[in-house]
């Protein structure tokens, strides 16, 4: 009897082992691969180790910088006396032009082009001066490149100082002269403090895109200036401590990483292959088997699921981000004056000049197939106002080899459009004739469209729109990554809108489920029968 029991137990163990073997066949084969750190990661760490700000030039010893500057242009000329081609290079980049050719003939993308968004809508070919505070020139687009915008080691208000020096000119009062001398010394000190671009340089505009902290990007706001490791493992001081330019590498002042028309995922170069790859992906450092255990089931996901989908579980985790902007509500006045209403998070929920807003924190992204490109609706494109207009939306299909499921912030809102021409419109906002002064939307559209040389019928209404931003910063520690069951679950799956594929746990197919169950039970039954057969047909004499 004891032997019989032992035999049954052995059969059960064997059967269970066989079943597990069937389930796990896909991954066991690669279990021998090592978990050694990828070379890309080693190189990245090397690049940010200890003394990061090494340089072969001490700018305080440069004679050209040791002068009494009276204008920004003089400073640029001093920079160019050594870096001869710098501004020539820079003026060719989108950081200066704010526009770039699109795949549509005659259509330029970018703020100064034909692109529109559902925030402040358009830069009106740089006619809207309100946008120009982020233009990298000494005086908007009128003067030379301000090199110190990205290379100044000290935040200094040059515009104010130069204005005051000019105003004090001719004043012989000793006290005034003392002030002027102090100002010029301050300027000299600031000009000689030169650095490679740091987070605060990029963040001055990119953390505050759309007119304020966290307005545009859900994954870029002032909390990323000094994030802790829980917020971003790459940029945290106790983490990899990357500056922006560690990933956004630069060739001739062209900064990599811009996502507009060119597919990103197609290249998938690693930093080992090309440290100046024009598009950076997580694989650049982490390789195509990013999870340390080479047999990890997660490594089977990387061809279809972007790393960001799991490793950025939520965005806007410290500061809130704007999720809704309704221009239909703009223009309401109290006692004839514009007003502001503040709501949760201390953020404005209403501004007379802009309309109604909604802010959110800890936002779960929305997921779409994405090949690194976007479809964009510009000022000259026709729209269907009966539908929600996707002003910017990710491109990619499940069957495309370069497309992956990627997380996005979808900013929703209502914005004006031309009722007769069925096109979005570009009201001019700032300045004495802008909407923020006149509160006359019709007039603002007339002036704004004229700046872009786009006809306006004179009749407008509002249409609901969406604008997608890829979520790629705020990478959380591995232990905080999205759990398998948040996607592989029947109800409320994060990937509920990713249709046309079969996802275990989320989807149910009676035929496939039946086949699977038959296979498992069949294997189990077979092993049982085999074991029992061996047990009962054994020859006792052999024992």
């Amino acid at each position: 009897m004891g032997k019989k029991t032992a035999g049954i137990c052995l059969a059960l163990i064997l059967g269970f082992g066989l079943c597990m073997g069937i389930v796990n066949t896909g991954t066991a084969a690669t279990a021998t691969e090592t978990s050694e750190e990828a070379l890309g990661i080693k190189l990245a760490k090397q690049a940010v180790k200890a003394d990061k700000h090494w340089t072969t030039t001490d700018h305080s010893k440069i004679e050209a910088l040791n002068q009494n500057f009276t204008s920004g242009s003089q400073i640029t000329q001093a920079c160019l006396s050594c870096h001869t081609d710098a501004s020539m290079q820079f003026e060719k980049t989108i950081h200066w032009t704010w526009k770039v050719e699109s795949e549509k003939p005659g259509i330029m993308n970018g703020k100064a082009g034909h692109a529109v968004n559902n925030f402040c809508i358009s830069g009106n070919a740089m006619e809207d001066k309100g946008c120009l505070s982020c233009h990298v020139g000494w005086n908007g687009t009128k003067e030379e490149v301000n090199c110190l915008n990205c290379h100044g080691g000290e935040k200094y208000n040059y515009k104010e100082a130069f204005g005051d020096i000019q105003a004090f000119a001719g004043d012989e009062d000793p006290e005034t002269q003392e002030i002027v001398t102090e100002l010029q010394n301050e300027i000299k000190t600031a000009v000689k403090n030169i650095t490679m671009p740091q987070r605060n340089h990029c963040g001055e505009c990119h953390f505050k895109g759309g007119g304020g902290d966290g307005v545009k990007h859900g994954d870029l706001d002032t909390s990323m200036a000094k994030p802790n490791k829980m917020l971003d493992v790459h940029m945290a001081a106790e983490g990899a401590d990357f500056t922006c330019t560690r990933c956004h590498t630069t060739v001739k002042h062209n900064i990599a990483g811009r996502l507009y028309t060119r597919p990103a995922s197609a290249e998938r170069k690693s930093l080992i292959q090309d440290d100046m790859a024009t598009k950076i992906t997580c694989e650049s450092c982490h390789g195509t088997l990013p999870h340390k255990k080479a047999d990890s089931k997660m490594n089977d996901h990387v061809d279809k699921v972007a790393c960001q989908s799991c490793h950025i579980p939520e965005f806007a985790r410290v500061n809130p981000t704007k999720m809704w902007w309704d221009w239909t509500k703009a223009g309401d006045l109290k006692d004839g004056k514009p007003y502001v209403v503040k709501g949760e998070f201390g953020k404005p929920t209403y501004k007379s000049i802009k309309g109604e807003f909604k802010w959110k924190k800890n936002v779960k992204p929305e997921y779409f197939w994405y090949n690194g490109s976007f479809s964009n609706i510009g000022i000259k494109d026709k729209i269907d106002p009966a539908q929600i207009v996707e002003v910017s939306h990710p491109l990619g299909e499940k069957s495309a080899p370069d497309a992956r499921i990627h997380p996005f912030k979808i900013h929703r809102g209502k914005q004006p459009y031309d009722k007769i021409n069925n096109q979005l419109v570009a009201p001019i906002l700032s300045g004495p004739k802008g909407f923020w002064t006149t509160f006359d939307m019709d007039d603002a559209i007339t002036r704004g469209n004229k700046a872009l040389d786009v006809p306006y019928s004179g009749e407008f209404d509002y249409v609901e729109t969406t604008y997608a931003f890829p979520i790629t910063h705020m990478v959380a520690p591995a232990q905080n990554a999205v759990n398998c069951t948040e996607c592989h679950i029947r109800d409320n799956s994060r990937l509920a809108n990713i249709t046309g594929i079969y996802m275990p746990g989320r989807d149910k197919n009676n035929f496939i489920d039946s086949i699977g169950m038959i296979a498992v039970l069949g294997a189990f039954g077979g092993v049982m029968l085999h074991g029992l057969g061996r047990f009962f047909t054994r020859n006792p004499k052999e024992e």
């Binding site: 208000n157 104010e160 005051d164 105003a167 004090f168 006290e175 005034t176 002030i179 102090e182």
Partner: protein, 116 residues
């Protein structure tokens, strides 16, 4: 004669009005630009003495309206700035310059101050 009197009266009123507006727009009459640096210098001295935590001024003209600054400066009530010793030692001309700076860039002025 009546017509001439009307014209003369209108001219006088226009002149008075223009002068009044011009003087009203100028505020206290000091050098507002110089006042900005005098104020910064005052706070810096205060910081070096250890009376305030930062050498950068914490009180900005845009913190109050013109009428409020007028009350503070004309009443010589500078306790909100926290640098009593420096204010006491400042000359009348320096205080007038600083007053002009605060008045010109007050919250309800045409150009409220922004941070430096």
């Amino acid at each position: 004669m009546f017509k001439k009197s009307i014209i003369a009266a209108v001219l006088v009123l226009f002149t008075l009005g223009t002068v009044a507006v011009a003087f009203a727009g100028e505020g206290p009459g000091g050098n507002k630009r110089k006042g900005k640096y005098t104020y910064r210098k005052l706070v810096k001295a205060c910081f070096e003495r250890g009376a305030v935590e930062s050498a950068s001024p914490k009180v900005s003209p845009a913190d109050k309206k013109q009428a409020e600054w007028k009350a503070i400066f004309e009443g010589k009530e500078f306790s909100a700035f926290g640098c009593d010793e420096e204010w006491a030692n400042a000359s009348d001309k320096d205080v007038l310059d600083i007053y002009s700076y605060f008045y010109s860039f007050a919250a309800d002025s045409p150009t409220p101050a922004t941070c430096k």
